[in-house]
């Protein structure tokens, strides 16, 4: 019944987007001075901060160190005021612990861990405002923070979510769609290798529709990649130009 309203007869979603349209993405790298890398990312009303510390010596017990590769340490937390109803704790609950694990697995797949044996890299993600797609925004923000920190990676990791409403696959779903639409697919990919590093699906979806939704979500990932990559490149070129001027002058 909710599905009726999620997609109007004219083919628009509740927030006025078309089925294959992303929310507005805005981001800024290097928002903090103290962290080695940091980024702030907005996807519509979902706002995420990510900070990267490292690679540095192992903190705490040395037993955690991996002799042949980098240890990636993640923490996902949500501000107590980020959700519609106040959260009692910013982290430590099952959901955030699961999210922490997923982030860790995702970034283990993409960071060139074998270059840094016996040391540690911290990735901290803080959700300031949540409106669906927390995992996706967290992954995208953390990728930008890693780029800001200059950590060697195979590729960007880009995550995007999707769902299926009224025989139409929709992409980058917001909180309302997340909670009422039924099936939800979350995918993290390496866009230039066309590889999937993380995939998760909730609720049920007919097998016949799966590939259509997947295609749409993969397209979403590519779009996000293009947006992020464009701005990162632009900024880098600008910086390079300034450096050149400084060198010349």
């Amino acid at each position: 019944m909710a599905g009726m309203e999620l997609l109007s007869d004219q083919g628009f979603r509740t927030d006025g987007r078309k089925p294959n349209e992303l929310r507005r993405i805005r981001f800024k790298k290097g928002v903090f001075k103290q962290a080695d890398g940091s980024a702030y990312l907005e996807q519509g009303n979902t706002k995420v901060l990510a900070a990267v510390y490292g690679p540095h010596e192992i903190r705490g017990s040395k037993g955690k160190a991996l002799h042949d590769k980098l240890l990636i340490n993640c923490q996902y937390s949500m501000a107590t005021f980020s959700t519609q109803d106040r959260k009692r704790r910013p982290r430590g609950d099952r959901k955030s612990q699961e999210m922490t694990m997923h982030l860790k697995q995702t970034f283990n797949a993409v960071v060139l861990t074998e270059l840094f044996p016996k040391v540690q890299l911290d990735i901290y993600v803080e959700v300031l405002q949540s409106d669906g797609g927390n995992y996706c925004a967290s992954v995208n923000a953390a990728t930008l923070a890693l780029i800001d920190a200059g950590i060697p990676m195979k590729d960007y990791v880009i995550a995007c979510s999707g769902s299926f409403v009224k025989d139409t696959p929709i992409v980058d779903i917001n909180h309302l769609e997340e909670s009422t639409a039924g099936a939800e697919i979350i995918v993290a990919v390496l866009p230039r290798f066309d590889q999937i590093v993380f995939i998760e699906m909730n609720s049920r979806l007919h097998e016949d529709h799966l590939s259509r939704v997947m295609d749409q979500v993969m397209n979403g990932c590519k779009d996000i990649f293009n947006i992020l990559n464009q701005q990162v490149k632009d900024e880098l070129c600008k910086k390079a130009a300034i450096d050149k001027l400084v060198d010349a002058g």
């Binding site: 903090f32 001075k33 005021f81």
Partner: protein
């Protein structure tokens, strides 16, 4: 807090420069660093503010909730502070690492706001003896660059200024009074923050004292005095912190400067908030 390790010569340098009333970043002893205040950037909250004081970064979100009154104080609403030290600030805050600092800051805030003149607590009570508003003031510490207490208190005051409490209509029903919270975003009331205090921390460095100490200066200081000060110069809370002791004359001097700075700070803050409100631009937040 990120650990600051200073060598002896560095400490001596800071000490001497403070003595000359010309601190390492060029400020005088009673000057604040550059500060940015922005309100209304988290739409999921009833009031929010972000303060960036040099590299100290604080985000505050306030949510209001209807709750039964405390039978001990049946005519007033309640506020509750919660502070989360984000690991973004320093890896030492990971997990439960920041809880010690968090409880210290919330204790000081709770005390500063515990006096009744701070905000109009009776206006937060809807039905005396039954229902009142509970303000959850949630603070997120995003980066630590010294002088956390002051930055947090400024952010809290700014968020209280920004707070929009939805209006409630009460209808008498059989079996009691029914409360209906308005869901119109433009149907709200504001809170008067003219009595709300800010915390001013005064650090003793050598024979001098400074306000708004940077992390390096904090590392040189053995004792500090914190005061919750209102715009009128009333002290709502006071605390001495640090492992050193102070003689009574220097305490008098320190609280005197804290008072002067506090009164000025309150005025500036209120002006900036009013100015900001008059603008219609969308808040830029972290994208600046």
């Amino acid at each position: 807090m990120a650990d600051v390790d200073l060598s002896e010569p560095e400490k001596v340098y800071i000490l001497h420069s403070v003595q000359e009333n010309l601190r390492e970043d060029g400020r005088g002893c009673e000057d604040f660093r550059h500060m940015e205040v922005e309100t209304g950037l988290i739409s999921n909250t009833n009031g929010s503010a972000r303060v960036r004081l040099a590299s100290t970064d604080v985000l505050v979100g306030i949510k209001v909730q209807l709750t039964p009154v405390d039978p001990k104080k049946p005519n007033v609403g309640r506020i509750e502070f919660f502070l989360d030290c984000s690991a973004n600030a320093t890896p030492a805050f990971e997990g439960r690492g920041g809880e010690g600092l968090a409880s210290e800051i919330t204790a000081m805030l709770t005390r500063s706001y515990s006096c009744f003149s701070a905000i109009d607590y009776t206006s937060l009570c809807l039905l005396p003896g039954q229902q009142c508003w509970l303000l959850y003031i949630d603070i997120l510490l995003l980066e630590c660059g010294g002088n956390l207490f002051d930055a947090v208190s400024i952010a809290v005051k700014a968020a209280l200024f920004n707070l929009r409490i939805p209006n409630v209509t009460m209808t008498k029903d059989e079996g009691g009074i029914e409360l209906d919270v308005s869901d119109d975003p433009f149907d709200f009331k504001r809170l008067d923050v003219s009595g709300a205090p800010v915390i001013v921390t005064v650090n003793k460095i050598g024979h001098q004292h400074v306000v708004d100490a940077s992390e390096k200066e904090e590392a040189c200081s053995l004792a500090k005095v914190m005061l919750g000060i209102t715009e009128k110069g009333t002290v709502t809370a006071m605390k001495k912190e640090g492992s050193g002791s102070l003689d009574s004359e220097s305490i008098s001097e320190m609280i005197e400067s804290a008072k002067n700075v506090g009164i000025e700070l309150n005025k500036c803050l209120l002006n900036i908030l009013k100015e900001e409100e008059a603008k219609i631009e969308e808040p830029v937040g972290f994208l600046r």
